[in-house]
């Protein structure tokens, strides 16, 4: 997998989504040692792998985004989610969010902001900048569960779209390979169409049924 690529779920051919789901690796960023301990436990108990760092600068270093080429070896696992505190000395959570979204390599990683202060303009600013969600501190188990489900659902939808479009392409290929017998034109006007469009009509009908066949497997 390329660096920074979001982990894809493996979907068995039977279409059963509940079978294998690899663990999310979460990078948690917070300057409070107490909060780092709590968020780490919340994530671990929710079956996530966790790496905690104490600042935005350390987070960038971990990801290899700090411009120091030598640091890129620090990261041993792909990061699937970043959860960061908003108010931190130095780089704020918002600054970190911006840097991640500016990066062509890491912009796909979902970022969740945490804050003890329920300030609407702040929340809006983060969501506008591309934050996946905003958690109000103190963070609870239900919050982490919800975030995890959201991330897993997004991953699954990406896979489903990918898998579905691959199956469409396969159906098209099968169609083109065999030569379909042209069905009678449904209306007189279609007889004025050229050959290519007459061929299109029956094959698109066949593709649709092939699609339906495949969709029922999902």
């Amino acid at each position: 997998m390329a660096v920074g690529e979001v982990m894809r779920m493996e979907i068995p051919s039977g279409g059963d989504m509940s079978v294998t789901s690899p663990e999310l690796h979460v990078l948690a960023v917070d300057d409070s040692i107490v909060d780092r301990k709590v968020i780490e436990r919340l994530l671990r108990i929710s079956a996530c792998k966790v790496t905690t760092v104490e600042s935005g600068a350390r987070a960038l270093q971990y990801l290899g985004l700090d411009g120091d080429k030598g640091a890129s070896g620090l990261k041993d696992l792909k990061v699937n989610l970043i959860v960061t505190d908003y108010s931190m000395p130095g780089l704020t959570g918002y600054d970190l969010l911006k840097k991640i979204k500016e990066s062509s390599v890491f912009r796909e990683i979902p970022v969740v902001i945490m804050s003890s202060e329920n300030i609407l303009p702040r929340i809006e600013q983060c969501l506008r900048e591309g934050a996946e969600d905003f958690l109000l501190k103190p963070v609870k188990l239900a919050d982490v569960k919800r975030i995890k489900e959201l991330i897993m659902r997004n991953e699954a939808e990406d896979c489903k779209t990918l898998s579905h479009s691959n199956k469409r392409k396969l159906a098209e290929y099968i169609d083109d390979a065999s030569s379909p017998s042209p069905s009678p034109s449904p209306s007189p006007s279609s007889s004025t169409h050229d050959d290519s469009s007459a061929k299109d009509f029956p094959s698109s009908k066949q593709m649709k049924s092939a699609d339906e066949k495949f969709s029922s497997l999902l």
């Binding site: 409070s32 107490v34 709590v38 436990r41 919340l42 108010s87 003890s116 501190k137 103190p138």
Partner: protein, 154 residues
């Protein structure tokens, strides 16, 4: 003391902390995160809180004792303490920090000094209570018993 009696004492003691507002539901959240694989989670987090708070309170005392108080230094410390106390459910400490911050905003030195005393008072109270709570738990475990799960029906 019999095991059952000790367990009852622990439950009553814990309940009183909630009724007095010393602890809030966030403490229950922490207890939910404790299990056989992590049997000391709560005491570990609380210990971190004590260490962190001791440091912050010390820094606050120093900052407020300066000839010219730099509120840009004071406020972040109070914000930190507010955050960590909130994370463990130390409600009264958190509330005292909220008041403290408003005096920082007003740049009221006298008010801040009073607030620091209030925060310290609440902090030593919750520290004392939690240390007692953990001692009770240890006695139960030492007697071969299990810590009873906190009932939420009060």
């Amino acid at each position: 003391m019999e095991l059952v009696q000790m367990q009852k004492s622990l439950q009553d003691y814990t309940k009183s902390l909630f009724l007095d507002g010393v602890l809030d539901s966030q403490f229950l959240q922490l207890q939910q995160l404790q299990d056989e694989s992590n049997p000391d989670f709560v005491s570990q987090v609380v210990t971190l809180f004590f260490q962190d708070s001791d440091r912050i309170l010390n820094d606050l005392s120093l900052s407020l004792d300066q000839q010219v108080v730099d509120f840009k230094k004071v406020d972040p410390h109070v914000h930190q303490l507010k955050g960590s106390s909130s994370s463990i459910g130390a409600q009264r400490v958190k509330n005292a920090c909220v008041v403290f911050r408003s005096f920082c905003e007003q740049q009221n030195v006298e008010g801040c000094h009073r607030c620091l005393q209030q925060v310290k008072q609440e902090y030593y109270l919750v520290k004392n209570r939690l240390e007692t709570l953990f001692k009770l738990e240890q006695q139960i475990v030492a007697s071969g018993g299990m810590i009873p799960a906190m009932e939420l029906g009060f």
